[in-house]
């Protein structure tokens, strides 16, 4: 039993650390906020956090297989533009619209997967190129910002549940329960971890490599489109913003790293990425609470990010053999 515990701890170390760091930061934030932590403050913070958390989860699926998805931001923007056309009207229309947006997200992920698996191109270049295509599609849908969304649904998902709990957090929980946990516990999920640890070893062991990658990329597209839907619910419009696409792609990588997911693949979890994302958001809010001049905020955010990734160098201290550094 003791042995099991050690393994469990080792596997979840990144996630636990991310959770602890987030908890500390959030406590400082909540206790120092001038207006106190009332429901409205919490809801706004939760909405921003949930958006980044979903896109970070999207990135996690691909990073676990030791790939990288630089098109998550573009898929998010595409979903945003599509949603501003079709997530409107009667409840039935709206529901079909939501399903349509999610299907398009899956399709984008599947395209990435097919090119990476059967084209045997590197994920980083593949997703740069497909990202341009997805962004082009978004521009075709919305050359100028505009459109509409079913406001009842949008307000319900970005507002509060009875009792003041932000609805976005329950949405996040639902995503974890419906998408992440089944994936993590399935054979495919294990295969994705195996591929990330060592593709050759996974191949030799008869692990379904192709299916694992396909599912990972497709789920990444699905979650990126969910993030796009959420953007639409927050802003009520569709906008093909290149700045949004690149910013969220980069933030998703930062959140994944802060959440203890290894960029080499095979280790970490989407739960960790969620806390990484929430942590990243809290950093920005902390600077606001402590009245840091707005001018200096981006610099502090950058320095905190740099310091956080430097913590990854702590493994150098435990090194027994210098050769372990060179893979």
């Amino acid at each position: 039993m003791n042995g099991d515990g050690t393994y469990w701890l080792r596997e979840h170390k990144g996630t636990l650390l991310a959770f602890a760091a987030f908890l500390v930061m959030f406590t400082i934030y909540a206790t120092n906020h001038s207006a106190g932590l009332d429901a409205n403050v919490a809801t706004t913070a939760a909405n921003k956090g949930a958006l980044l958390a979903i896109i970070a989860m999207a990135q996690t699926f691909v990073v676990l297989t030791s790939g990288i998805d630089l098109s998550v931001g573009a898929v998010m923007v595409l979903a945003n533009c599509l949603a501003s056309w079709i997530v409107v009207g009667s409840p039935l229309m709206t529901a079909l619209g939501v399903i349509g947006v999610l299907l398009v997200g899956c399709l984008c992920g599947a395209i990435n997967a097919l090119i990476v698996i059967f084209g045997r191109l590197q994920p980083i270049v593949t997703t740069i190129a497909t990202g341009a295509v997805f962004y082009g599609a978004a521009l075709a849908l919305r050359p100028v910002p505009g459109g509409d969304v079913n406001t009842a649904l949008a307000d319900a998902l970005t507002g509060q549940l009875p009792g003041g709990v932000p609805a976005s957090l329950s949405l996040l929980l639902a995503v974890v329960v419906v998408v992440w946990l089944p994936f993590r516990r399935s054979v495919i999920g294990r295969a994705a971890y195996a591929v990330g640890s060592s593709e050759v070893a996974a191949y030799m062991s008869g692990v379904p490599i192709r299916r694992a990658k396909f599912v990972a990329y497709t789920l990444s597209g699905l979650l990126a489109s969910m993030a796009g839907l959420f953007v639409t619910f927050i802003t009520y419009t569709g906008e093909a913003s290149a700045a949004n696409a690149s910013t969220y792609t980069l933030y998703s990588i930062a959140a994944v790293v802060l959440g203890g997911v290894s960029l080499f693949g095979g280790s970490g979890s989407a739960i960790g990425a969620i806390f990484g994302a929430l942590m990243f958001r809290t950093i920005g809010d902390l600077l606001f609470v402590f009245n840091v001049e707005p001018l200096w905020q981006p610099l502090f955010q950058g320095i905190v990010l740099a310091a956080a990734v430097c913590l990854g160098a702590a493994r150098l201290l435990r090194l027994r053999n210098r050769l372990d550094l060179y893979g």
Partner: protein, 314 residues
Amino acid sequence: MRRRIDPAIAWAFGCIVLVLLVGSLYSSSFLSPQYLLQQLKVASFLGVIATGMMIVILLGQIDLSVPWVVAVGGMMATAATGWGPLGEILAIPVGIGCGVALGLVSGVGVAFLRIPSMVVTLAMNAVAQGLMIVHTGGFSPQDSSSPAMRVIATGDTVFGIPNAVLVWAAVGVAAVFLLTRTTFGRTVYAIGNRERAAYLSGARTRMVVTAAFALSGGLSAFGGVLLAGYASKAAQAMGDPYLLPAIAAVVLGGTSILGGRGSYLGTVAGVILITLLQSILSVMQMPEFGRHVTYGVVIIAMLLIYGRGRRPSE
């Protein structure tokens, strides 16, 4: 010693010819010397930036800090211009120096702290952005470029060849010499192939990696200086459109994104191809969305022809 021509480079040059032929069907001015020289001039900015990116990619790493290091180069050079006559002389070195400094920090993070380059350079990009926001907001520096910057970016002295093209040619010759004729270059290829072996062979891997990132930062900043000279002023988002094209140009030129394999001639081909593609699509008045889609599809198609990896079973 006879060398085989790398099929990737042949394909890339073939595609350049194809793009020009398709363009000339639309309008014969695509084959005029003026148009081609103008395109080479525009390409030289991307070419200088892609040179640094290529060295880093040859190591098997990547530099995502290009957008804001380009901006730092341009903005610091113009700021130095505002310091007076001495500043005007020092403008270009100051811009490049700031880029080298940022690249040096990234290099130390990658080589000594062993943090993945994707994360280090991402963080450096954020830090550079923060520094520039403080710099412009707090000190309101000058944003118009010095006469020297304008001359090297827009002027032409010899036989009507734009100065920017000459600058790119100089950078290119230096890069080829560095990569093929020096210990540094050999070590870069060795590290890209297998860092462990390079280390065990006694190569000073950490110094080389650090220097490569410093070089990439300096070249990105130099690209920013040229861009600021071309547009006669520096702006915050000036580097944003250069990150992905730089990576795409290097990869289209046959350099393996995993490192250790690639030649500078390929990068030249990749840079020209990307620039021509962007230019011809916009001259043909293709709507913006179509340009993005075509751009992405062409990159994928070309890589599917010659850039494929191995099966896990091989």
